[in-house]
Amino acid sequence: MSESQSSAARAPSSGFNFFHYASPQTFFPLAGKLLWPSWIAAVVLTLAGLYIGFFVAPTDATQGDSYRIIFIHVPAAWMSMVVYLAMAFWCAVGLVFNTRLSFMMSSALAPTGAMWAFVALWTGALWGKPTWGTYWVWDARLTSELILFFLYCGYMALQAAIDDPRRADRAGALIAIVGAVNVPIIYFSVKWWNTLHQGASVSLTAAPTMATTMLTGMLVMALAAWAYTIGAALVRVRAIMIERERNTDWVRQLASNGDSKT
């Protein structure tokens, strides 16, 4: 048992202590409890979002029904950026506090973030063809999102290539943190450069330019994407905890109890 683990286990139980959950053995059951609420929220919100998107929101006056791609494209693009920032955040926390769980969180987020980046690119291409006449252009928004996808892939490939998990974590953290510069570039690319891509869909400062039902559908789908991402990351972080902590007492106990509920 390592130092951080035993000290976390000894943390006083009176009141809520955030660092109490910073050790894998206490976070593992908590993550398990959060799983079902996440999955249920993801399913309910997806169904509601799809219903609004296909049956309530009207056909667009200029784009026809091709615009309905927005209900996955925008949430996926948002999530690809948010997940990357979360990854970089956990890597930074890990480097500063030297907490094992932070790096595990980061690794757990990467594949889901990469999935969202891929979905954003794929749906963008299929939306670009009918509206711009091309699947792909090397414009600032599209190119920087493609770079984001490669950053995810690079992070995962680097981690997979280094056997020692501590070194893999540190090397990965470097990519994650340096690559985070790309996220504001993606976000502001439509302002900074002349691009084919349209401006921000939602702005906190300006009045909405979309029909309310379209906006609602998109936001509900965005919440669904959040719930799904949380669920997927929690499952993966639990698997990573077992894989990495194989030789610790708490994993041994978990395995010998054969308890799949916790």
Binding site: D65, S66, A232
Partner: protein, 65 residues
């Protein structure tokens, strides 16, 4: 209601290929991720159980020796 019939719905005003191509592939990659996740968790748990079982066998052997 936006759609006169099911076939209108699937046609998506002529953009069916693009709309369903987007939704279909998204559904497929999410399904693939969920499948990979559940496999990874099952494997991790199985490996941990094997470790414990092997340790017990070792302990038994040492106990008899």
């Amino acid at each position: 209601m936006n759609w006169e019939s099911a076939s209108h719905f699937w046609a998506m005003g002529g953009y069916g290929f693009f709309v369903w191509g987007s939704y279909g592939v998204t559904a497929a990659v999410i399904a693939a991720e969920l499948f990979a996740l559940s496999r990874r968790m099952t494997k991790a748990r199985a490996q941990a159980r094997r470790d414990v079982a092997l340790e017990r066998i070792d302990a038994d052997k040492r106990g008899r020796a």
